[in-house]
Amino acid sequence: MLVTLTLIRTLTPVTMHSSRRCSLCPRPPRTPTSPCTTQGPCLSQAATGVLPAVNQLEFHPWVGASTHETVQWCTRNGARETEPAITLEATGPTLARMHRCHVPACAQRGPLLPTAGIAIIAYGSLGSSSNKASVGSGVAQVAARHGVSSAALLLRWALARGAAVIPGATSAAHIRENLAARRLRFELSPEDEAIIAGDAKPPGWKLWPNMGKG
């Protein structure tokens, strides 16, 4: 019995049963009394503290540096700045117990709720419908090296970065070809990546004017 108790003491993580802190709880805010964070203007809105699950963006080798930065933040740092990237698999009561320690933390202007990061859905992977054929020469070169079409290479490029892709197509052949990219498992070597990164934007490849302040 004593052995059991000792073991439990040693092995049981400190949970919300004994403290408001646990490995899944946000750390207490450093300045709990601060009414506003520096992240935005002070609005008279209730805090959500909840990040979007997804950011759907134009994402292909020819987007600007700020989009690459956004994608990296969403898939890596976005998760790391909040909590370790985790997926919670818990029963309702367990999760409810856990969240008792999250929600008040946010109400105190504390850090964020746990998140598995912000998933990226890439659109415009193949360019607009009018310029699908005109991929960059570097992309075509790498595609040929792996024995796939340029379209498949571009889809693989986004999938390799953890993004989901949503290519549209009209013909059954193109629909099938796009779907087949799911099963491509080849890795892009550093050399492949360098060639693609150095590839100039193909003439006529239209970037969507969807970002910014407008």
Partner: protein, 213 residues
């Protein structure tokens, strides 16, 4: 700390307590509901497990936590993205094993997507339907955003979206974006969307949504 341990012990089954066996004690601890935590399975071939907004708000957890397919079918911006050609191409996509259909209010093809879904006869639970609230230059407030979501569901003939996005940040101020985001969280809580997110948001705009104001 001792109290916590005692409470845990009192919940253990008599058999475990009597034996005091190391392995059984560990099993007992697991059985007491230690949260099972899996590291994010972002690399899975079968899909991406998205953050669920609902439980983050009120502690409820959906029974269904299917991952989002990595390969979807976009329905924007081409001649065949409406009417019968769209229905036919979606049916081809579904017949080839695709399951995610991406649409939006701006594409004006929700009814065609609904037709394709109905004709495919694929169970709703196998499909993943993403749509987006038109937010560009609309300056939607909280209530108007919720009303637009109800329109989307009616047009798609769905009770629930798998993923619902704010289509653009552009054309909205920080206050409008915050109101629209809070509306989406409310919609998720009401069960009208399993997951909520955004589209075309830059880094600063994303961080703005997350801030505790």
């Amino acid at each position: 700390m001792a109290g916590a341990a005692a409470r845990r012990d009192s919940l253990m089954s008599p058999r475990v307590a009597v034996l005091g066996c190391l392995s059984l004690s560990l099993l007992g601890l697991l059985a007491l509901g230690t949260p099972r935590i899996a590291h994010a399975r972002r690399g899975d071939a079968d899909g991406i497990h998205l953050t669920v907004a609902g439980p983050l708000i009120d502690g409820t957890v959906p029974k269904d936590s299917r991952p989002m397919p990595r390969m979807g079918f976009g329905t924007c911006c081409r001649a065949s993205a409406s009417g019968e050609p769209l229905v036919a191409s979606i049916l081809t996509f579904l017949a080839q094993g695709g399951r995610l259909i991406d649409t939006a209010q701006m594409y004006e093809n929700h009814r065609d997507v609904a037709t394709a879904i109905a004709r495919s006869a694929i169970p709703r639970s196998e499909l993943w339907i993403t749509s987006k609230v038109r937010t560009i230059d609309t300056s939607l407030n909280h209530a108007a955003t919720v009303a637009e979501v109800d329109k989307i569901l009616a047009e798609l003939k769905l009770e629930q979206l798998d993923l619902l996005l704010l289509h653009h940040a552009k054309g909205n101020g920080a206050k409008e974006r915050a109101a629209q985001w809070q509306a989406l969280l409310e919609v998720a809580k009401a069960g009208k969307a399993r997951h909520v997110g955004v589209s075309n948001y830059d880094l600063a705009q994303l961080k703005g949504l997350q801030a505790c104001w």
